[in-house]
């Protein structure tokens, strides 16, 4: 009986988290943006499956305890992919905040918003590198 209750709690918890994750990605519009960039809008359903599959592998990695012995080069690829995904999310959030048009207008930089965008991009890279190389090690 307690096992049944436990599995019901697990199932409903998973439902809530899963739908939350998908809703989050949908609101930010990262997937349509990528499909649009690569002109693969017709393959959207495959991208959905990729997200679901990735989430399930993520669950396995975080809740289970698998240990492979791949080389560091695979780590580089995974790291790059993780970073790009977070970067997409960050960019989507920044856009929602709507700060750029106002800022650009205030300082008379119309048409050159990209210079400000580079400030954000380089700042993110610098902050991230600083954190991993110095901040968490001190």
């Amino acid at each position: 009986m307690s096992l049944f209750i436990l599995s019901m709690i697990g199932l409903s918890g998973g439902l809530a988290v899963g739908s939350g994750l998908v809703a989050f990605l949908t609101v930010l519009g990262v997937v349509p943006r990528l499909a649009n960039l690569t002109k693969t809008e017709n393959l959207l359903s495959l991208y959905e499956m990729s997200i679901v599959g990735g989430a399930i592998i993520g669950i396995w990695f975080s809740l289970g305890d698998p240990a492979f012995s791949f080389t560091n080069s695979l780590l580089v690829i995974i790291g790059l992919a993780c970073g790009m995904f977070i970067g997409l999310l960050a960019a989507a959030l920044t856009e929602v905040l709507n700060v750029f048009p106002i800022l650009a207008k205030r300082i008379g930089l119309k048409g050159k918003v990209y210079i400000l965008l580079w400030a954000i991009v380089l700042g993110k890279i610098a902050g991230s590198l600083y954190q991993w190389i110095f901040f968490v090690r001190s």
């Binding site: 492979f68 780590l75 580089v76 970073g83 750029f100 954000i120 991009v121 993110k124 590198l129 968490v136």
Partner: protein, 201 residues
């Protein structure tokens, strides 16, 4: 002969000199009236003490045309007002302000990403991924984290479609669309609240 004028206002117009004539702010088709005389009709004048923008309502244009060519059938097509902005001389980018804002965004972005990483325990996740992939427990998986940091920037650039804009497609980037929406909204606000036609009452 029937006298007819069709005009379509531009929603936005930047000027350098003070006087605005009708052809600056609209496309015109005339019937039975000399085209040039309509084209060069003075609409308004931005004096130096005046504000930096002026809203020209289509009704005002109709009024002016009717005053000069009584009995003309005037047809308005498209936007019902045009916003005239004065192009300010020597007022481009302000370097010091710009550098300040640039540094502000740079440092702020760095801080924000560090806070985010702390918030979601990114360090622990990276250690875990390193352990899963290579089988060894390392306290600082830099092999994962340095590519991650570079990818972070790449992802943002990809989203804004900046670097690959020419190569991938010609569509506007989300940033340009955002900029456009912002300006549209401003124009809509201005055309209601800065419009003399409504203010008089």
């Amino acid at each position: 002969m029937v006298k007819k004028v069709y005009f379509r206002l531009k929603s936005r117009h930047w000027i350098k000199d003070k006087t605005v004539v009708l052809k600056d702010i609209s496309q015109i088709i005339t019937e039975g009236i000399p085209h040039e005389s309509i084209e060069n009709m003075k609409i308004c004048e931005l004096t130096e003490a005046d504000k930096s923008l002026e809203v020209v309502d289509a009704m005002k244009v109709v009024e002016i045309i009717n005053k000069n060519f009584p009995g003309t059938d005037v047809q308005v097509v498209g936007p019902t007002q045009s916003i005239i902005y004065r192009k300010e001389k020597g007022k481009g980018a302000k370097p010091i302000l710009f550098i300040f804002v640039w540094l502000l965004l740079f440092i702020g972005a760095g801080l924000a990403v560090m806070n985010f990483h702390e918030d979601v325990s990114m360090q622990e996740v990276h250690v875990k991924i390193h352990q899963v992939i290579t089988g060894e427990i390392v306290e600082h998986p830099l092999w994962l984290q340095i590519p991650y940091s570079i990818g972070l920037g790449l992802g943002m650039i990809l989203f804004f479609n900046h670097v690959f804009r020419k190569r991938i497609n010609e569509e506007p980037s989300p940033m340009e669309v955002e900029m456009f929406n912002y300006e549209e909204n401003m124009d809509r606000y201005i055309s209601v609240y800065e419009n003399d036609a409504w203010k008089r009452k």
